[in-house]
Amino acid sequence: MRVALQVTCVNDAMFPDTGKAVVRLLRRLGVEVDFPQAQTCCGQPMVNTGYLDEAVPVVRAFVDAFAGYDAIVTPSGSCAGSARHQHSIVADRSGDPALVAAVAETGPRTYELSEFLVDVLGVTDVGAYFPHRVTYHPTCHSLRMLGVGDRPTRLLEAVRGIELVDLPNATECCGFGGTFALKNADTSVAMGADKARHVRDTGAEVLVAGDNSCLMHVGGMLSRQRAGVRVMHLAEVLATTEDTEGGSSGPAVGERAGDRA
């Protein structure tokens, strides 16, 4: 099986540790992923803002980069949703039958990480170790567009040392919504404030989700509140083992971005 990692533009540029975690995790499970260097973005920022023509070359770049792979794994419910449900809209708009055919190939082969682990690899215990109090936010696109269901929580429940606590009103949107966070910043923040409150109510130390963009929003609010809760992508929790966790301090604590080579 040829497996490609679609790291996503947000993770590539802002959260490389998530991409590294996916590589490490899948390698541990015996899957060598390729990183097709031609990949860029799934086109969602353009599509969801209404710029369909602008999304055409981006979707074209996506299908070109991932042509021929049996599975495309992405640590984002939102980007998987974009490939599976929105690329056809863009392709139709382009009027190019070749692009229509190409997205029909890549779309169904695109898996969000938890789907790939549970459905394709058939694992829920990935051998992770994460001794922290954690709560999980199911992001809207993974929940409603993809229907990942309880896959992420099944994966988390199997993590050794974890103390997983339920998030109140978990299925309610965090308020990120892509350009919504900027175009309707006030409403977005009002929604994020409630999400942050629910997170704080759990007493968790770490908020986990499958989309770094939502985490950037809620995490940004929690940080502004000095709430003492950090956010972490599901992949990074699942990639952590007793070797990498190295005791109790948790990954990345005290490490500044500038210190990283």
Partner: protein
């Protein structure tokens, strides 16, 4: 008598004001959550709910596919049953028809059963201009009318008011337009309802002409259906001699049996009830029983425009249950007024641009009034894929500006992003620049995210929209792509 949505600012501005209204926030959070939970509980009781949704969507879809035929059948059945059928292309035509019926009978007042279509066309204001008072008889609609207010919910137009506010409105205003509220009025729901009942009873018994809408119009039998919970509708539909019903053309269903899934879907979705309390059906005139003169105004007002939209036409399936409003996290926080229309919430965010186009700024802001979380689609009893229509309407907004001589900054930014994202080389170059920024920020940042990563605090310019309330992680010094290149995908041993 009541306010108007004309001149409302675009959604982000209106929302900002609404978000600061603490009473509104509290009332709405409480009310939407209560209805939401009630709905969830009664929907869970129905084993084949999903099949029912599919059936409901199919009924409406079939009716829309052959709309012209069904409308002609409806007209023929209505006429055969003794009704007079009028066709109205727009709001002005519809209002003029209702006014002329009222004038014919020489009345200066009509009673109304709450109707979205008559609110949409601004009938009350139009009648007022003709010297005819239109009395709303639905409790929530009465509260809105007496309070010189605007409706903020499809089902519960006064959802933004709590009972203390309702008491105030009744005490101050009822006496101006009829029987005053009792002196000892408290904010007990039963007492408030009693005051409304006494006030309205007078109007019901006096009125010669009633105005209604309809939830469904059955083509083969010429039957109109009104679904309500208070019984005021039944009074309007049976007491006065003359009844005028304003019905959007998308309300038609082909046959009587098509009502079956609809009447099962609607009460559970809207009020969270298993069965609807008052369902009135009438087919034209029944001699000696009920209104002896029945008019039906079939209203287009943008519906054929919406019907012509391949993606958006599904919005015409809407049965106005308001489930999408009650689950919407945006609606819950900003309320209905911010949408600037009698159709607020997720359905309003698509229906208004579909009916009216996106030429004006306020309407063009509505498709963006959503985080695309999809909760609306999940509950919609007729399976309207609201998020997809929202995205499609955003595209309509963008396309309407493609000819602009000076493109909007957003359009420039999107073009630049598309240019960058269509080539991995260009993206890598952009990431190297952001890595440099990350290095600088990492050194000088005074903000540290929980977990230790450097962050940007408040930034000026366009970034302020983000950093006004949210810290922003500093870009990493090395992108994933650079790491992969440098370490051969971590295979050189440096997994981090």
């Amino acid at each position: 008598m009541s306010g108007t949505f004309v001149g409302m600012p675009a959604f982000p501005t209106a929302a900002r004001e609404a978000l600061a209204d603490t009473q509104l926030r509290r009332n709405l959070a409480h009310a939407t959550r209560t209805i939401r939970d009630k709905r969830a509980a009664v929907v869970a009781e129905v084993e084949d709910w999903e099949e029912l949704r599919v059936a409901g969507a199919a009924v409406k879809e079939a009716a829309l596919r052959d709309l012209a035929t069904h409308l002609e059948t409806l007209e023929a059945s209505l006429v055969a049953a003794g009704a007079t059928v009028h066709w109205a292309r727009d709001a002005a035509e519809a209002c003029a028809i209702v006014a002329s019926v009222a004038h014919t009978h020489g009345v200066d007042e009509v009673v109304k059963v709450k109707s979205m279509a008559t609110a949409e066309i601004g009938l009350n204001e139009a009648l007022e201009a003709e010297g005819i008072a239109a009395w709303e008889t639905d409790l929530a609609e009465l509260i809105v009318q007496l309070g010189d207010d605007l409706p903020s919910h499809i089902l519960v137009p006064a959802i933004h008011r709590n009972r203390a506010e309702v008491r105030e409105i009744f005490r101050r205003r009822m006496g101006d337009v009829g029987r005053p509220a009792p002196d000892d009025l408290t904010d007990e729901p039963a007492m408030l309802a009693g005051a409304a009942r006494a006030h309205l009873r007078e109007k019901f018994l006096r009125a010669k002409v009633a105005v209604s809408g309809a939830n469904f119009a059955v083509a083969d039998t010429g039957t109109l259906v009104v679904v309500e919970s208070e019984g005021n509708g039944r009074m309007c539909l049976t007491l006065p001699d003359v009844l005028v019903s304003v019905v959007g053309i998308e309300k038609v269903v082909a046959t009587w049996s098509d009502l079956d899934p609809m009447l099962r879907l609607l009460p559970r979705s809207s009020t969270g009830e298993r069965m609807n309390p008052y369902t009135s059906t009438w087919s034209g005139v029944t001699p000696g029983d009920g209104p002896q003169e029945v008019h039906v105004v079939l209203l287009d007002n943008g519906r054929t425009r919406a019907l012509a939209d391949d993606v958006g036409r599904q919005a015409l399936r809407c049965i106005r249950c308001s489930a999408c409003l009650n689950v919407c996290p945006v609606y819950e926080r900003v309320g209905g007024h911010a949408y600037g229309s009698v159709y607020p919430g997720p359905i309003g965010a698509i229906l208004n641009p579909l009916l009216n186009g996106v030429a004006d700024e306020q309407t063009a802001s509505l498709p963006y009034a959503s985080s695309l979380c999809g909760a609306c689609f999940e509950v919609c009893p007729v399976r309207i894929d609201i998020p997809s229509v929202l995205v499609d309407q955003r595209a309509a907004v963008v396309d309407s500006h493609r000819g602009d001589r000076v493109p909007k900054p957003e359009a420039v930014a999107m073009k630049a992003a598309a240019w960058t994202f269509s080539s991995a080389k260009r993206l890598a170059r952009a990431e190297r620049a952001s890595g440099l920024a990350g290095r600088v920020l990492g050194r000088f940042s005074r903000t540290t995210l929980p977990g230790g990563r450097a962050a940007a605090g408040r930034l000026p310019g366009p970034a302020a929209g983000w950093t006004g309330a949210r810290d922003l992680p500093a870009p990493p010094t090395e992108s994933f792509r650079e790491w992969w290149d440098r370490t051969d995908g971590g295979r050189d041993g440096s997994a981090r």
